[in-house]
């Protein structure tokens, strides 16, 4: 048998993918949502494995109530997480959008005005 490694297996499907929505982005978002849910499921399984292998056990995790300092630490982490995930939404709250100045600035840079 040859020593050379095999090339990767095909990932693309022969046969055009149907369009289910008039806006193709919706079909892509649904596919991303399914893939993302799969990854969340994998992480949940991995945590469950750690709970089992560490000897802590699933019941002990379910029964655990964090004390106040632990809860404060988690609250700060959750706030930071939400700020990162919803940054695209919240950026507009920080002030009016920088309207129209972009290409004007580029033009000025290209013309040697800046």
């Amino acid at each position: 048998m040859p020593d050379s490694p095999l090339p990767p297996l095909p990932r693309r499907v022969k046969g055009a993918r149907p369009r289910f929505h008039d806006e193709p982005a919706i079909d892509r978002l649904i596919a991303m949502l399914v893939a993302l849910t799969s990854e969340v499921s994998v992480l949940a399984d991995r945590l469950a494995t750690l709970e089992a292998l560490s000897g802590v056990g699933h019941d002990a995790v379910d029964a655990h109530v964090p004390d106040l300092s632990e809860r404060a630490w988690r609250e700060a982490r959750r706030e930071a997480l939400i700020a990162r995930v919803f940054a695209a939404l919240e950026v507009e709250l920080e002030g009016p959008a920088d309207s129209g100045a972009y290409w004007e600035t580029i033009g000025r840079i290209e013309r040697g005005e800046l």
């Binding site: 048998m1 040859p2 095999l6 297996l9 289910f20 929505h21 399914v34 893939a35 399984d45 991995r46």
Partner: protein, 380 residues
């Protein structure tokens, strides 16, 4: 929750590491959700509003499969369902390809009971490679050369997940159905040589070898990587089968060589041109008094336009190019045209059939549906 049987391990099975298995488990659970909740939900949407909306536009309720399709295509829930269902199908392959890829080159068994005969000069029929059936990337023909079992390893896991384990631990429910039917219909029949056409990774081939242990069993398929996997798998289970790379339309095997020529869920993956050629080849290969048995999907029930609409979705959305046309064919007439004078049809019912036909498990009409057994006899 469906999990009738865990897939039975064997030397070629690619389960991968923790996260690969977790991804496969997710694909399994999501597929269950699709078949158990979402698919029946299409009927709920039809009854609740899609049929009425069609009636408001046309002045009458949808009657034919095409009108049902028009009614459903206009519904936003249904479109979202189709899109998510397609993504769920892609999730199955995305879960099983990486561990299959990591197998690398697989060594063939050192002292096999059976055999593997590959022939790179075999020209596969055009329909096999035109569209990747079931959306499996690379399809049945992907072959990366010596030691490549990838397409077989991917298919082996994919079938188990797609059918929610209803195919049994060895993915062999259809083969078992076929064997049980033949043994009850022809209890005295003891074939010495058996040919399984379009055998793939041997899911339906091994039951024949187990049921008739003194028979020589041959499986033919055009996919080299499928056959390598089939060989590794059969040897790992201790079952002797000779796997040969050949086209079922023209196998190159000798005239009159087999007492039984069979296939399981092959015909619907061929073509309007290929199917009659396979039946004619079956007849050529049979010894006098020999038996042909092809088990596959039945004809559409023309009295049930809703069921027909659901069935046709396989051609519309799941890369089943021949499914829709195949299911309007008169197979009995096709067998007679291939030269068989004695032809019988029978219905084989089982859970696995209902799932493969997109039927809800609790649909009372679906309980009577089954696979079609096309049985024909070569004159003695």
């Amino acid at each position: 929750m469906k999990r009738i049987a865990e897939q039975e391990g064997h030397a070629g099975l690619a389960l991968g590491d923790h996260d690969d298995r977790a991804r496969a488990d997710f694909a399994f659970t999501l597929r269950n959700r699709v078949t158990s909740t979402w698919m029946p939900g299409t009927r709920t949407i039809f009854d609740r509003r899609a049929a009425d909306a069609f009636a408001a536009r046309h002045g009458r309720r949808p009657q034919s499969p095409a009108e049902i399709r028009e009614a459903m295509d206009a519904d936003p829930w249904y479109r979202f369902y189709l899109s998510a269902r397609r993504a769920s199908q892609e999730t199955i392959w995305a879960a099983v390809i990486p561990p299959a890829e990591r197998l690398g080159r697989v060594a063939m068994p050192a002292a096999p009971r059976g055999a593997l005969h590959l022939d790179s000069s075999v020209e596969p029929p055009a329909y096999v490679g035109a569209i990747d059936i079931h959306c499996m990337p690379g399809g049945y023909l992907a072959d990366r050369g010596e030691g490549d079992t990838g397409a077989g390893a991917v298919y082996d896991r994919g079938v188990y997940l797609y059918m929610s384990g209803l195919m049994g631990g060895r993915n062999d429910a259809v083969g078992q159905l076929a064997v049980a039917f033949l043994k009850s219909r022809l209890p005295e029949f003891a074939p010495r040589r058996i040919l399984d056409m379009g055998c793939g990774v041997g899911h339906a081939t091994l039951p024949w070898a187990t049921a008739f242990p003194s028979a020589d069993v041959t499986g033919v398929d055009v996919g080299a990587a499928l056959l390598r996997h089939a060989h590794v798998r059969a040897e790992s289970f201790g079952v002797a089968v000779r796997f040969v790379q050949a086209d079922a339309e023209a196998t190159g095997l000798p005239d009159g060589h087999f007492d039984l020529v069979t296939s399981s869920i092959l015909l619907h993956e061929t073509s309007t041109r290929g199917l009659p050629a396979i039946l004619a080849e079956s007849r050529r290969l049979l010894a006098p008094g020999g038996v042909m048995l092809h088990v596959d999907q039945p004809r559409f029930d023309d009295d049930d336009p809703w069921a027909t609409f659901l069935q046709e979705n396989e051609t519309h959305y799941n890369n089943e190019p021949f499914w829709r046309r195949y299911r309007s064919l008169d197979l009995e007439a096709q067998a007679r045209a291939a030269g068989f004078a004695r032809v019988e049809l029978a219905t084989l019912a089982a859970d696995v059939v209902r799932q493969s036909q997109n039927n809800a498990a609790d649909d009372p009409k679906a309980r009577a549906r089954g696979f079609l057994a096309l049985l024909a006899f070569r004159d003695a």
